[in-house]
């Protein structure tokens, strides 16, 4: 982002916060706040506010790229170092990001480009292959990956409610403003869990560090070969059911070639027969490979989440009702996940026209308006679309 784009975006954000009605987090006076300024790399931390109006005024003055608040409740939220804050409770928070779910669409809409030599290519790359300078990474989202993220949120809620029996009256789902969702549980009993205990919950959700033998996996010697003879019996409880379910969906995707064949699978026949997994045909050789299969399957068809967000005691998460500096979209509390449209509902900026120069942009639909694909052109776009492209790093303001 060049200097004039930077000034422009900052002014737009300031204006938003001048009139915004922000939603206060529960027990706001106990939270640590963090603000990220446009053009800066590190967050200003250790801030504390006693009411949401103070937050709004601070944001209206600075026009920050992000406003986030701690998952911890502190006695002294503004003290330093961290231990002096004296945390006494934590929200159980989860971060589900479409970026980490292995969907195929990514190669179509994520790309890198070099502003100097004007080369670009699909996927992720750090340096330009021609001039070796740092490239701009442009990551977009499409309905396919956002639907996958939604599916993972639903799976997570099912596990929390159905398997772990957590009270879900105090749960908040929010669209993170870009590629994913945050799920927060404000329950008091859960709030007493330490990071080590939250780690157990995360490992449970991610099916990590499974002992395959405890879940019915068994190898047998057949004709001098080690063959996986059985998998989990579904009646053995929720975990076994979940393992079978995600592995089934994963293998379906592998069979349909929607996913590449992973190195630990060495098929010796059909992977699935009449909708059931044929364990002996998978060619798995060790318990470690079983673990790998389960973790990959879960990442694809179960819940893919960032464990650090849940376990870290010092984590800050974006505040709902703030706007995301990478998109200009609203961090939105989602009441009805099925109905929520991430390309429409969080678009809150106006449609006043502005001129932008776009390096390159794939086809994006925002507020039902198709935008692009663009390539090296100056366009007059509604403000929300212009900000989206500038913040994503593929456009600059003109004039």
């Amino acid at each position: 982002m060049n200097q004039s784009s930077l000034a422009f975006v900052r002014a737009v954000f300031r204006e938003y916060y001048a009139k915004a009605r922000l939603q206060a987090p529960p027990a706001i006076e106990t939270r640590e706040f963090g603000f990220l300024q446009f053009g800066e790399k590190s967050i200003i931390r250790h801030l504390s506010f006693s009411n949401i109006e103070q937050v709004r005024r601070f944001a209206a003055e600075n026009g920050p790229a992000s406003i986030s608040y701690s998952t911890a409740y502190y006695r002294y939220p503004d003290r330093q170092p961290m231990v002096a804050k004296e945390p006494y409770r934590f929200d159980l928070a989860f971060d589900i990001d479409a970026d980490h779910i292995p969907t195929k669409c990514k190669r179509q809409h994520d790309f890198w480009f070099c502003q100097i030599c004007d080369v670009r290519g699909p996927g992720v790359r750090k340096k330009c292959p021609v001039c070796h300078s740092e490239v701009v990474l442009a990551k977009f989202v499409c309905p396919e990956c956002m639907n996958a993220a939604k599916e993972h949120v639903r799976n997570l809620i099912d596990i929390l409610e159905g398997e772990l029996g957590l009270r879900m009256q105090q749960v908040q789902i929010s669209f993170s403003g870009r590629r994913g969702f945050h799920v927060r549980i404000f329950d008091e009993e859960v709030g007493g869990l330490t990071s080590e205990e939250r780690r157990e919950i995360v490992d449970y959700i991610l099916l990590k560090e499974i002992e395959p033998r405890r879940h019915g996996f068994a190898f047998e010697q057949r004709g001098g070969k080690r063959v996986l003879a059985s998998g989990p019996a579904v009646r053995e409880g929720a975990i076994s059911r979940r393992i079978v379910q995600v592995v089934k969906r994963y293998l379906e995707a592998v069979e349909k070639k929607a996913l590449a064949m992973p190195s630990f699978l060495r098929p010796s026949g059909a992977l699935l027969k009449e909708g059931e997994v044929v364990w002996e045909n998978l060619g798995l050789r060790t318990y470690d490979e079983i673990r790998q299969l389960i973790e990959c399957a879960n990442e694809y068809a179960g819940v893919s989440l960032d464990p650090m967000v849940t376990c870290d005691d010092a984590r800050l998460l974006r505040m709902p009702s703030s706007i995301h500096g990478g998109t200009g979209l609203l961090v939105t509390v989602v009441d009805d996940l099925d109905q929520f449209d991430p390309f429409n509902d969080p678009v809150v900026l106006s449609d006043d026209p502005v001129n932008v120069h776009i390096h390159y942009s794939p086809n994006v639909v925002l507020r039902d308006q198709p935008l692009g694909p663009f390539k090296h052109e100056v366009r007059r776009l509604p403000l929300f679309a212009a900000i989206y492209l500038i913040c994503t790093g593929v456009a600059e303001i003109v004039g």
Binding site: S195, E197, E200, D203
Partner: protein
């Protein structure tokens, strides 16, 4: 305490002096602990024996379990709160942890040997430990523990066998077999004693009390050796704050969870401390078990099992286990791994001295 089969209330109370029945018995006696320190008596004698067993062997022995051995159930029962009083009033962290762990081992041994009916065990958990949230399913033959409660105790026991992901979970409860639940209860006993000892008990002025305290101090000075020093090739001053914190915890005699032990052992091995020395450092832990620790340390060193030497957790992973001390120095050095800290810190120090 009737209807649970062929065992007497007296035996039950002697085994489990924290049970509801024991509490009722103690209330009937209507004594205050300080009265036991007014004259020499068998209760204080037995209390000191409990502490001695704990300090010397890490396991309180149960005379009520020895066949043919006559024991006085009143002395057995009354000596439990008296021993806790002594341990709490000394306020030595190592002793507190050691005693709590030793009593919990005694309870576990009693439960394992006597194999009381599930209903009685349930009663012990609900009444004795005040775990109102535990139930027993006689059809599934399993104890039902709500997930959040389970996690609280299970992470302290540690190991893959206790990971939530390896349990049978249904609708918010973990189903535990009879055998596993016995271990679960004993962990509850340990935490309960720790809690009771966290409030320092007031010192008394009587001779019996002073003599008892003197006796325990003596025991400690004979048993608690100073922490094994680091070899010369290793520079403990360059250890990252998280590792120093763990070493301090060991020095203070604190109990360390499973993940912390792995983290510390893998770090020390990597910077060049020999497995035997690591075991010596761990020997200070209140629940130290030489055989198990040796196996474990050699395993991490890659000498046993999969022959794979383990690396310590990265900073990020350590943080997720609550092991990071979130120091500003780490932030300044921009380290992502505790070994990186050690290397950078040493390099910086060497440059300075040059």
């Amino acid at each position: 305490m009737t209807g649970y089969g062929p065992f007497s209330t007296e035996e039950w109370i002697a085994h489990f002096p924290f049970s509801k029945e024991a509490r009722e018995f103690l209330e009937q006696q209507g004594f205050s602990i300080s009265t036991f320190f007014e004259f020499e008596n068998k209760v204080v004698e037995r209390a000191l024996e409990r502490v001695r067993d704990a300090v010397e062997q890490g396991h309180v022995l149960s005379p009520s379990l020895e066949s043919g051995f006559k024991y006085d159930f009143e002395v057995e029962t009354l000596s439990y709160p008296v021993a806790i009083y002594l341990v709490a009033s000394l306020g030595n962290r190592w002793l507190i942890e050691r005693y709590a762990s030793a009593e919990s081992k005694r309870v576990f041994a009693c439960l394992q040997l006597k194999r009381y009916p599930a209903e009685a065990v349930l009663q012990l958990a609900r009444g004795g430990l005040e775990w109102k949230w535990v139930t027993y399913d006689s059809v599934l033959k399993a104890f039902k523990v709500p997930v959040i409660k389970y996690v609280k105790y299970a992470v302290r026991i540690g190991g893959p066998a206790w990971k939530l992901v390896n349990q049978r979970v249904e609708e918010g409860v973990v189903l535990l077999s009879y055998e596993k639940f016995l271990r679960f209860i004993s962990e509850g006993v340990r935490l309960r004693i720790l809690e009771r000892c966290s409030q320092p008990a007031p010192q008394l002025e009587t001779d019996v009390y002073k003599k008892s305290i003197e006796y325990i101090r003596n025991l400690l000075s004979q048993t608690m050796r100073p922490i094994a020093p680091m070899p010369k090739s290793v520079d403990p001053g360059a250890f990252p704050p998280c590792i120093q914190q763990l070493l301090r915890s060991i020095e203070e005699g604190r109990h360390l969870p499973h993940a912390a032990r792995f983290f510390l052992a893998s770090f020390l091995l990597r910077v060049g401390v020999k497995p035997d020395r690591v075991v010596e450092i761990f020997s200070r832990l209140p629940d130290f078990n030489r055989k198990r620790t040796e196996y474990y340390v050699r395993h991490i060193a890659g000498e046993k099992g999969g022959k794979k030497a383990y690396l310590p957790y990265s900073c990020e992973r350590a943080r997720s286990y609550g092991l990071c001390s979130m120091s500003d120095v780490c932030r300044q050095l921009q380290v992502q791994h505790p070994l990186q800290y050690y290397i950078r810190y040493r390099r910086a120090k060497r440059r300075e001295s040059e």
